[in-house]
């Protein structure tokens, strides 16, 4: 095979020719085709099929008939589904706030002039490479066995039973573990943002006598604001889909206190409730799209892009 480079047209002075934005080379469209075909086959097709089945009483196989919007109407009166939406949205908001606050705090620390900076950064990234279900099982053991034993031996009886068995507080455990796993990726983005802030502005502000807190609020925060938005959008998307960590920690319990929307949708596969949960999935999809569009509009206003 020869390695002759294709002739580069733009080098020629002919480029001066006033060219209207005319036809794009057909090659680009041809190159786009495989991706488009795969995307349609694997994503758009199944999505449309799911929407189609959501107006039937299909159980996953066999015959079915159309039931119109019945699945949707029942959906909006099903307290268990509504509770799952309430839990998922509330959990996402809390998790986004917690993850961003801690990740930004750690990023500022890891970006300051400390020793072992590289090694510490490495340590803080570890949770990102461990699978969610593994993390969940490890924390399950900590919450159910280790912590109760510790509190029990300290004589704090109120804390000596597992938080995972407590209907009112199990969600806190879910948030803690989710945050533990999600912080590193937010941290990376914040570190990139902090590295982009020129050192000179800090020097100038310290000459003006600004305290570290003032530097943080007046310089760091405004200059990483775009990254905050990015982390919020990405985080929200991930937390709304919460599944593996909850399955490993509480399996939706105690009772149904920590059942997420994704978990209720998945029950449709095994229980012949396919069409109903497809309707649930469509509603969930719309909600996710609306939230994402709102966030993207905020991003555009701030002049940053993903």
């Amino acid at each position: 095979m020869s390695t002759t480079a294709p002739p580069r047209r733009s080098e020629a002075p002919v480029a001066v020719r006033p060219q209207r934005r005319r036809k794009v080379d057909a090659a680009f469209y041809v190159m786009l085709l495989p991706a488009l075909a795969l995307f349609t086959l694997l994503i758009i097709g199944p999505a449309l099929a799911g929407m189609y089945f959501s107006v039937t009483n299909y159980v996953g196989y066999g015959e079915y008939s159309f039931v119109g919007l019945a699945n949707y109407l029942v959906l909006f009166t099903d307290p268990r589904i509504l509770a799952a939406y309430g839990f998922t949205l509330g959990f996402s908001v809390v998790a986004v706030l917690l993850v961003n606050a801690i990740a930004l705090f750690l990023a500022v620390l890891l970006n300051s002039k400390i020793r072992f900076k590289t090694a510490l950064r490495g340590v803080f990234f570890i949770p990102m490479v461990v699978s969610g279900i593994v993390i969940a099982y490890v924390f399950n053991y900590i919450f159910s066995t280790s912590l109760p034993a510790v509190f029990g031996s300290l004589g704090i009886t109120a804390w000596s039973s597992s938080i995972l068995a407590n209907e009112s507080w199990a969600w806190v455990a879910v948030v803690i573990v989710t945050a533990w796993q999600a912080i590193p990726s937010a941290l990376i983005i914040y570190l990139a943002g902090l590295l982009a802030i020129p050192e000179e502005v800090y020097e100038a502000s310290s000459l003006d006598g600004a305290t570290p807190w003032r530097q943080f609020t007046a310089i760091t925060l405004p200059l990483v604001a775009g990254y905050v938005v990015i982390n919020t959008v990405l985080g929200f998307k991930n937390f709304l889909n919460a599944y593996d960590i909850i399955v490993g920690l509480t399996n939706g319990g105690p009772g149904t206190a920590t059942s997420s929307v994704a978990m209720t949708i998945f029950t449709g596969f095994t229980s012949g409730d396919y069409a109903y949960q497809m309707a649930n999935a469509v509603v969930f999809f719309i909600i996710t799209v609306v939230i994402s569009v709102l966030q993207l509009r905020i991003i555009n206003r701030r002049g940053v892009s993903l």
């Binding site: 694997l42 099929a49 089945f53 009772g255 149904t256």
Partner: protein, 431 residues
């Protein structure tokens, strides 16, 4: 009319598949895959036999080898893969023959009419009607015999024989005797009933199923619930199970105090260490307990929930049952294999060795002393399939029951069940 041809493909949204990691199911387009065709070139037929009960895979391998050696027309290819069968039906490539757990999910194949009628097999006449009728409690298709029971397991309260003797406690026959026994154990410093509420399935198969089965007529209740017609005239969970629920909640004081955070493994360990008098688990727990204490003397009894000793019954399930899809490569050859499997020297022998009961008429009861206490109920036909097993798992009954044990609101739980059931019936997913 019901389809017997290749079922339509099910396509699902990408996000779901990503969540589930069911990458393979993404190709659930109507592929005309036949899971297993005729044996290439060998002249005989190869049948894919799905039998994946994890504990006894080696037994199944051995049975397949025996059958293959006994004749030359058919090769049984044992498939012990631990996957769901639903996608195989969806893709149009179901097993050619199966020996599989029979439950509400499997009963959907019966209802859908995708299984061949086995009524004409002589082997079908050898099955105890008490057990055969369990099949149609979940679903039936016309008057066909779509499924033949092969292994019946029974569950009840596992008890520590030594602790009962040491404390002068007899096996309780009424609810008040049960409470009395609990009080004796508690004052002797023994945990009366060990409960593992962190693993909700242990509650579902345990306290919920056993208590409702002995305290109410579960088969009649669900026969009424699943009958045609709207929900208004039918019995409700609330009125049927309220008295049982009250007794169950009263029993909580005799649980281990930390029952909310204990798991199945904790329960087996506590039982094995001899600290516990009673433990509500199925026969599968015996093997786990024996890992720690192989010589612990254990027995099983049916939990009494009323003052009438005759109300007691035993929870059974069709742990394994044989069926042949109509889409089998050769229904006839598969049926011959089923007949072979139903022979007493194979079927009854398996059950006697595996803490289970043979579904064949006149088969001797299983002699293992750990489950001998349940045998009289099975012989007398006082059996039921657990109330939890009739409820599709789109209704998280086990989680609701866990919630009720934690907050003590039994009636609230039963009301939620009624509301969920009606909602499910309204969208006609049930029948």
């Amino acid at each position: 009319m019901l389809v017997n041809g290749p079922p339509r493909g099910g396509i699902s949204r990408r996000s779901l598949l990503r969540i589930a990691g069911l990458g393979a199911a993404a190709g659930a387009l109507p592929l005309s895959l036949s899971g297993c065709g005729a044996g290439a070139g060998s002249g005989g037929t190869t049948l894919r036999w799905v039998a994946n009960k994890p504990e006894v895979l080696a037994v199944f391998d051995e049975l397949a080898a025996q059958y293959n050696a006994s004749q030359s027309g058919v090769v049984i290819d044992h498939d012990g893969t631990q996957t769901s069968i639903v996608p195989q039906f969806v893709r149009g490539g179901p097993p050619d023959v199966a020996c599989y757990n029979y439950n509400l999910e499997t009963s959907n194949y019966v209802r859908g009419g995708v299984l061949a009628d086995l009524a004409a097999l002589p082997a079908a006449q050898t099955i105890n009607p008490d057990y055969q009728s369990l099949v149609t409690q979940y679903a039936s298709y016309e008057d066909e015999t779509s499924v033949l029971p092969w292994s019946v397991t029974a569950a009840g309260v596992i008890y520590n024989v030594q602790l009962f003797a040491d404390n002068g406690v007899e096996v309780p026959e009424t609810y008040s005797q049960l409470v009395e026994a609990c009080q004796k154990f508690r004052s002797a410093g023994v945990t009366p009933i060990y409960t593992t509420a962190r693993d909700v399935w242990t509650l579902g198969q345990g306290m919920w199923d056993y208590a409702t089965g002995s305290g109410a007529d579960v088969p009649a209740f669900f026969a009424a619930k699943l009958a045609e017609g709207d929900e208004s005239g039918k019995p409700t969970f609330l009125e049927t199970f309220s008295p049982v629920m009250r007794n169950v909640l009263d029993l909580r004081q005799y649980f281990n105090p930390d029952f909310a955070s204990k798991t199945y493994a904790d329960g087996n360990l506590a039982m094995a260490q001899g600290q516990v008098a009673m433990y509500l688990q199925g026969p599968w727990a015996f093997g786990e307990i024996a890992k720690t204490s192989p010589d612990l003397e254990l027995g099983t009894f049916s939990i009494p929930m009323t003052e009438d000793a005759d109300d007691r019954a035993v929870r059974v399930n069709l742990d394994l049952a044989m069926w042949v899809p109509t889409a089998s490569a050769s229904v006839e050859d598969a049926q011959a294999f089923v007949s072979w499997m139903m022979q007493p020297e194979i079927c009854t022998a398996y059950n006697q060795e595996n803490l289970a009961f043979s579904p064949l008429q006149g088969a001797p009861s299983t002699a293992d002393p750990r489950i001998a206490g349940l045998a009289p109920y099975l012989d007398a036909g006082r059996i039921y399939q657990g109330a939890g097993t009739f409820v599709p798992n789109t209704i998280p009954l086990q989680n609701y029951f866990q919630g009720a044990l934690l907050d003590g609101d039994g009636e609230g739980m039963l009301r939620t069940l009624d509301a969920d059931w009606d909602r499910l019936a309204a969208r006609s997913a049930l029948s």
